[in-house]
Amino acid sequence: MATCSRCLLSDNIPSVRISSSGLCNYCAVSAKQQPGHGMTDNEFSELLDKYKDRKYQVIMAFSGGKDSSYTLKLIREKYNASILAVTFNNGFLSELSLQNIKVVTDYLGVDSLMMKYPTNKLLKAFKYVGDGRIYPRVSLERASSICNLCIMLVKNMIYYEAIIRDIPIICFGWTPGQVDTAKPLLRLDCRTVSKVFENVRNSIVDELGAEYEKYFLDPGFMRENAEKMPWLYYPFVKNAYNESLIIEEIRQIGWKYPENTDGNSSNCLLNSYANQCHIDRFGYHPYAFEISNMVRAGYMSREEGAEKLEQVKNDSSYEMIRKMFEKI
């Protein structure tokens, strides 16, 4: 197995090729560097101003992890946005994460909601998607099958809540390694949004029953609300990202790092199991692409990236979740 001399991607990932120079195909075409500190985000400010009379200008997908906690603080304090923080509780948020959600939203004076689907229903769905066959290969290169489903459910829930509550902007706590874009704001049309969820929605409903339909956006509902499609805001296109500084800043407002999650999640106990299953099945770390993107763009050193790639699971949470999946 060969590893890229710059970003750590290895050629056991299907789309990765390492050339004789030692660089992978992703590094060969990328010259991007992170943005400078404190760039002005005029487009976002102007959009907030346009919707200043709304009850909420932004709906934030708030997991209680470090990145969404920092993002929430950033858009509240830097942009003075009126925000509704919505947490998708997948049933596996650590106790400390639930505390972090309360502490951070209380400190920032942000209204907060939690959406939770029955754990057993989610477990069945996570188990069904476990082998990854319903996902495109490109999706599995960026996240485990369990994470892919969880993220998809969050996106469906957030779009729905934004539309019915008339909130014009959606924000996620994506790191710069998770989304490759130079556009801080993007507004997709209703058909495109429906389309990207369609295959997974249909597979799950066919296999597990019509009771799962309500967890996905209905194309008819989307068409009826075509004019209400919200913008997606990516804060780290124009704002600096530094993991250590982020953690330091949110610690100052009472956020605490859970000890029972794995090294690549600061809120979810399921992640350990999801990571290990992905590695057992596909042979590479599901965070490899995110980490390599961060290294390539200079957000993380190669050594820091290598250290993260060694962190797969927290043994105790892995074992607990494994037993739960066995019972399904």
Binding site: Y26, P136, S139, D180, A182, L186, R191, V196
Partner: protein, 87 residues
């Protein structure tokens, strides 16, 4: 930049994400990229970034619709039309 240059550059985006043992030439230019799993929502956002960086124009939100982004041939036609309008 002529239509062939546009196509070559566009295909290079997809080729970069193809498994080592597959070629972009195996994809039918008219087949749906999302339906057939060649691209997902994150990939679509990367594709837009790639187009803006490589073809030097802004992709407007109103243009991110299936009529322009459903298949390789549709994306090719969309980029061609934008490149032509810049001349």
């Amino acid at each position: 930049m002529d239509s062939k240059d546009v196509k070559d550059k566009l295909l290079s985006f997809f080729q970069n994400f193809m498994p080592y043992n597959e070629s972009i030439n195996e994809i039918d230019g008219d087949e749906s990229l999302i339906d057939n799993g060649y691209i997902d929502s994150t990939g679509l956002i990367s594709l837009i970034a790639f187009i803006e960086e490589n073809f030097k124009f802004e992709v407007f939100d109103r243009e991110i619709i299936p009529e322009n982004f459903e298949s390789i041939n549709k994306i090719h036609m969309y980029i061609n039309s934008r490149v032509l309008s810049m001349r």
